[in-house]
C-alpha cells in the first residue's frame, strides 16, 4: 500500500506543468481563475493547443490519436490543467461521443469523425434530454422515421450545453414504439447545419446563456450517421454515461476552487478582522477541505483499480455524487464569504474586457452567479438521486 506517486508519475506531472505553464495564454487562465465568461475562441484555442501536443484526448488509446495514458496519468493531467486555470476540454466530443464511435461506430465514422474531434474542427453537443424525458430518459419521444437511405427526425431536445456553438449533435431518437421503451431507441449523429434544426437559447438562473433547446423539423439524417444498430441505441447511451470515471469527481477543479476560497477568506474582513480568523466560517472551509481529501483518495483508489484490472463500474456514481456536492459547497462558501457583497448583480463584470468600476472586491461579481450555476451539478448527467438508485441496484443489489 503506497499513497505516493511514483517517480515516473511525478516526472510526468512536471512535464505537464511545464507545458501548461508555457502554452496556456495568460488572459485565458485569468478568466478561469477570476470566474469570467469564456468565449468559443477561448475553448478552441486551448483545445487546439492540446491537440497539437497530442494531449487533447487524454483518455483515448494511441491507435486513435490519444496519448495512451494510464488513468492516474489522466488524473495528474486534469489536476495540473485545473490548477493552472485551463478551460476544461469540453466533454461532448472527446469524452462522450468519441468513445461510443470507437466502440460501436463504423470504420467510416471512425475515419471521418475522430480526427475532427481531435483537431477541434467539429464542436459537439449532446442531444439526450427532452422536455418530457429527464431522469426517465428512455421515455424520449423525438422520432426518426426511416425513408430509404435516410431518417426524417422530428422532435425537441433540451439542456444542450453550449449547443449555440455546436457543429454536430449526437441524439437519442425513437425508431420504434414496439416492446419496452428502451428497445426502440437509436443513436444518430446529426449535422447542426441540416435544414430544419433550430437552436433556441435558455436563459439560466445566473442570467447566462450556456444552455439551449434544439428543435428538429423534418430533418434529413443519412442512415450512415446512425451509430451501431437500429433500436440498440440505449446500450450505447448507457455505455456513454458509465464510461467516464476519470475526471467525474472534479478533484482538480475543486482543489483550485478551495485555494480560491481560502484566498478570499484571507482578504475579506469581518468586524475589521480577516474572515479566516472567524472560527465559525473557518470550520466550514475545514469541513469541505476534509471532504475533498476523502474524495481525492477515493478517486485515486478507483483510478488505480481501473489501471490494474476492472472496467468502469458503479463506483462512478459515488464519485459523481460526492464530487458534485463538494463543488456546490465550495461555490456556496465563496459566495457566503462576500457577505452582503454577494447581493449586487453586475453581469458586465463577467466580461474580461469590461473596464467599469467593480462593486466591492474585484473577485466578487461572479461568485453568486457561480453558486447559482453550480446547482446544476447534482442534477446533470444522472441526478444524484438517480446515482443513488444505481448504487442501490448495481452495488447493493437492492
Amino acid at each position: 500500500m503506497d499513497l505516493d506517486y511514483t517517480a515516473d508519475e511525478s516526472a510526468f506531472r512536471e512535464e505537464v506543468r511545464a507545458f501548461v505553464c508555457a502554452s496556456l495564454p495568460k488572459e485565458i487562465a485569468a478568466k478561469v481563475h477570476d470566474g469570467k465568461r469564456l468565449t468559443r475562441d477561448d475553448f478552441l484555442t486551448w483545445h487546439r493547443t492540446l491537440a497539437k501536443k497530442g494531449w487533447v484526448a487524454a483518455g483515448w488509446p494511441k491507435e486513435h490519436g490519444g496519448p495512451g495514458w494510464t488513468a492516474v496519468q489522466q488524473h495528474i493531467f486534469d489536476e495540473e490543467c485545473a490548477a493552472a486555470g485551463a478551460p476544461v476540454v469540453l466533454p461532448f466530443g472527446v469524452r462522450m461521443v468519441a468513445p461510443v464511435i470507437m466502440r460501436y461506430g463504423s470504420e467510416e465514422q471512425k475515419r471521418h469523425f475522430l480526427p475532427r474531434i481531435l483537431s477541434g474542427e467539429d464542436w459537439w453537443c449532446q442531444g439526450y434530454s427532452e422536455p418530457g424525458s429527464g431522469s426517465d430518459l428512455a421515455s424520449l419521444r423525438t422520432r426518426a422515421e426511416r425513408k430509404a437511405d435516410h431518417y426524417i427526425v422530428n422532435g425537441q431536445k433540451t439542456w444542450n450545453t453550449l449547443g449555440q456553438f455546436a457543429d454536430w449533435i449526437f441524439c437519442l431518437v425513437r425508431t420504434s414504439t414496439e416492446g419496452r421503451q428502451q428497445e426502440g431507441i437509436s443513436f444518430l449523429l446529426i449535422d447542426m447545419k441540416s435544414p430544419g434544426v433550430t437552436v433556441r437559447p435558455i436563459r439560466m438562473l445566473d442570467g447566462e446563456h450556456e444552455i439551449n433547446e434544439v428543435w428538429f423539423e423534418d430533418v434529413k439524417v443519412p442512415v450512415a450517421n446512425r451509430v451501431g444498430e437500429e433500436n440498440k441505441g440505449w446500450t450505447y447511451a448507457k455505455f456513454l454515461l458509465g464510461h467516464e470515471r476519470t475526471g467525474i469527481a472534479g478533484v482538480g477543479r475543486s482543489k483550485r476552487e478551495l485555494a480560491k476560497l481560502k484566498e478570499i477568506a484571507r482578504r475579506e474582513r469581518s468586524g475589521g478582522r480577516p474572515l479566516i480568523e472567524d472560527t465559525r466560517f473557518r470550520d466550514r472551509i475545514a469541513q469541505v477541505e476534509v471532504e475533498l481529501m476523502a474524495l481525492e483518495v477515493t478517486n485515486l483508489r478507483v483510478l488505480a483499480e481501473e489501471d490494474t484490472r476492472r472496467a468502469p463500474g458503479p463506483e462512478a456514481s459515488i464519485l459523481k455524487v460526492r464530487g458534485s456536492e463538494i463543488q456546490q459547497s465550495l461555490s456556496e462558501l465563496q459566495m457566503q464569504a462576500l457577505g452582503a457583497y454577494g447581493i449586487p448583480y453586475v453581469p458586465e463584470a463577467l466580461d474580461a474586457r469590461w473596464e467599469g468600476d467593480p462593486v466591492g472586491e474585484d473577485y466578487a461579481a461572479p461568485l453568486a452567479g457561480h453558486y447559482f450555476n453550480m446547482r446544476k451539478t447534482s442534477i446533470y448527467s444522472g441526478s444524484n438521486e438517480i446515482q443513488k438508485n444505481i448504487i442501490s441496484q448495481m452495488i447493493l443489489g437492492l
Binding site: 500500500m1 503506497d2 499513497l3 505516493d4 506517486y5 511514483t6 508519475e9 492516474v72 481560502k262 479566516i276 480568523e277 472560527t279 473557518r282 470550520d283 472551509i285 475545514a286 469541513q287 477541505e289 476534509v290 471532504e291 481529501m293 476523502a294 474524495l295 483518495v297 477515493t298 485515486l300 483508489r301 488505480a304 483499480e305 490494474t308 463506483e315 459515488i318 455524487v321 460526492r322 438521486e385 446515482q387 443513488k388 438508485n389 448504487i391 442501490s392 452495488i395 447493493l396 443489489g397 437492492l398
Partner: protein, 381 residues
C-alpha cells in the same frame, strides 16, 4: 501509487479473520467482557503468538518490523469482531511511545515482553480539565535529587487496571497548556501513592481514573528528555487515532453488511423493506460514507510515515474528523433501519453502534479534530 495489499498483508488479514471467526463469536465476546478484567489473557497470548502484538514494532525491539498499514489491518479486523483485549492501550499507545521515546534499556525491558504477550501497558495522558486539548497537563512532576514526585489526576485511562506499567505525562514547568515542560514517566500501578478508580466503559471495555499522590519515580523511569515530551505525545495520539480510524472502518463495514442483509430479508407490507426507496437511498449514503472512510483511514496510516509532524497531525485530524462523522451517520442509521431490534442488547448491531460512538469520543471527537485541522488553516503557506 498502490492500493493493493501486499501478499504478506493479505495472509495476515486471513489469519486474523480466521482466528476471530473461530474464537471470537459474539457470544464468546459477551462472556469475555463480562469477566473481571473485561478480556481474556489467553486470547491475548494467542494474539501475541500470531505476531500481532509486535507487528509494527522494530525487529531489534522484538517485533516484526511492520508499519501503520499492518496496524490498520489488525485494527480493522478487531473492529468487526469487537475485540476487547487491550491492543490500543498496550501495543499502539504504550509500546508505541516506549519505542519512540524510550532509551535502549527501557525498550529492552518492555517491548519484547509486549511482543510476546507477557506485559500489558497503559497511557495516562488526558485529564479532567483538558477535554481533548493535546498539551493540557496539570499533573505536576517535581524533581527531588535523582527521582521525581508526581501529583495529579488522569482521566479515562484505557485498561489501566490491567497494566504492568502506566506511561504518565506530567509537567515540571510552565502553565497547564504550554507545550514545553512536559515529561513522560513509566509508573508502576502498584507504587505507593497510585490509586485507581476502575470501571467498565459503555462498549464493554475497561478504563480507570488514575490518581497520583506524591508518587516517587526514579529518574531512570523517565521516557525521553525532561520537559520535551510533546512531540512524542503528539505522535502517540496520532498513532492511536490512525488506529482508531482503522478500527472504525471494520465496524462501519460490518454494520453496513448487517443492515443490507436486513433490508433484503425483513419483510413489511408484503415485500422486503429494501424495496423502499427511502431506505435504498439511506443505504447508498451509508455505502458512500464507508468507501470514503476507508480512503481516510488509508490516508491516516500513510500519514504515519510523514517526516513532517505538522502535516502528519493535519492528515490524521482530517481522517479522525471524517471517520467520526461517518461513524455517527452509519451507526445511527444502521440502528434506525433495524427498527426496534436495533435498540436491543441482543443484537450485535447495538454493540457495534456503541463501539463507534466511543471511538469517536476517544482522543478527540469529530468536532475537536475538525477544529484542530481548521486552526492549522491560519498558519498555512
Amino acid at each position: 501509487m498502490d492500493f493493493s495489499l501486499a501478499e504478506e498483508r493479505r495472509l495476515l488479514q486471513d489469519t486474523i479473520r480466521r482466528f476471530l471467526a473461530n474464537e471470537y463469536s459474539f457470544d464468546k465476546r459477551r462472556a469475555r467482557v463480562a469477566g473481571e478484567e473485561g478480556f481474556s489473557r489467553g486470547t491475548w497470548k494467542e494474539f501475541a503468538r500470531l505476531g500481532l502484538a509486535g507487528i509494527a514494532m522494530r525487529e531489534e525491539d522484538g517485533g516484526l518490523g511492520g508499519d501503520a498499514f499492518d496496524t490498520l489491518i489488525v485494527m480493522e479486523s478487531f473492529g468487526r469482531a469487537l475485540v476487547a483485549e487491550p491492543y490500543l492501550a498496550t501495543v499502539v499507545l504504550g509500546a508505541g511511545i516506549i519505542a519512540d521515546a524510550g532509551n535502549e534499556g527501557q525498550r529492552a525491558a518492555w517491548l519484547p515482553g509486549v511482543s510476546e504477550g507477557d506485559k500489558l501497558l497503559a497511557f495516562a495522558h488526558g485529564e479532567p480539565g483538558a477535554r481533548y486539548a493535546e498539551s493540557y497537563v496539570a499533573t505536576r512532576a517535581v524533581r527531588e535529587g535523582s527521582s521525581w514526585k508526581l501529583d495529579g489526576r488522569k482521566s479515562v485511562v484505557l485498561n489501566a487496571q490491567s497494566a504492568d506499567a502506566i506511561v504518565v505525562s506530567a509537567r515540571s514547568s510552565g502553565k497547564e497548556n504550554d507545550r514545553d515542560g512536559i515529561s513522560l514517566f513509566l509508573v508502576d500501578p502498584k507504587a505507593k501513592g497510585v490509586s485507581l478508580r476502575p470501571y467498565a466503559t459503555q462498549d464493554g471495555g475497561r478504563a480507570a481514573e488514575v490518581e497520583l499522590h506524591g508518587v516517587a519515580v526514579s529518574d531512570e523511569a523517565r521516557l525521553g528528555e525532561a520537559g520535551h515530551a510533546m512531540p512524542a505525545i503528539d505522535a502517540a495520539l496520532d498513532r492511536a487515532n490512525a488506529a482508531l480510524c482503522a478500527e472504525a472502518l471494520g465496524v462501519i463495514d460490518a454494520l453496513n453488511e448487517a443492515t443490507l442483509e436486513y433490508l433484503k430479508t425483513r419483510k413489511q407490507f408484503g415485500q422486503p423493506i429494501g424495496r423502499f426507496q427511502a431506505l435504498q437511498h439511506r443505504m447508498a449514503e451509508m455505502t458512500i460514507k464507508a468507501v470514503e472512510a476507508r480512503s481516510m483511514a488509508i490516508l491516516a496510516a500513510a500519514a504515519m510515515r510523514q517526516g513532517d509532524a505538522r502535516e502528519r497531525s493535519r492528515r490524521v485530524s482530517a481522517a479522525k474528523a471524517f471517520v467520526g462523522q461517518a461513524s455517527r451517520f452509519v451507526g445511527q442509521q444502521a440502528v434506525q433501519m433495524h427498527g426496534a431490534i436495533g435498540v436491543t442488547d441482543e443484537l450485535i448491531v447495538s454493540h457495534w453502534f456503541k463501539r463507534l460512538t466511543m471511538i469517536n469520543a476517544t482522543f478527540g471527537d469529530a468536532d475537536h479534530h475538525l477544529g484542530r485541522f481548521s486552526d492549522l488553516l491560519l498558519t498555512e503557506e
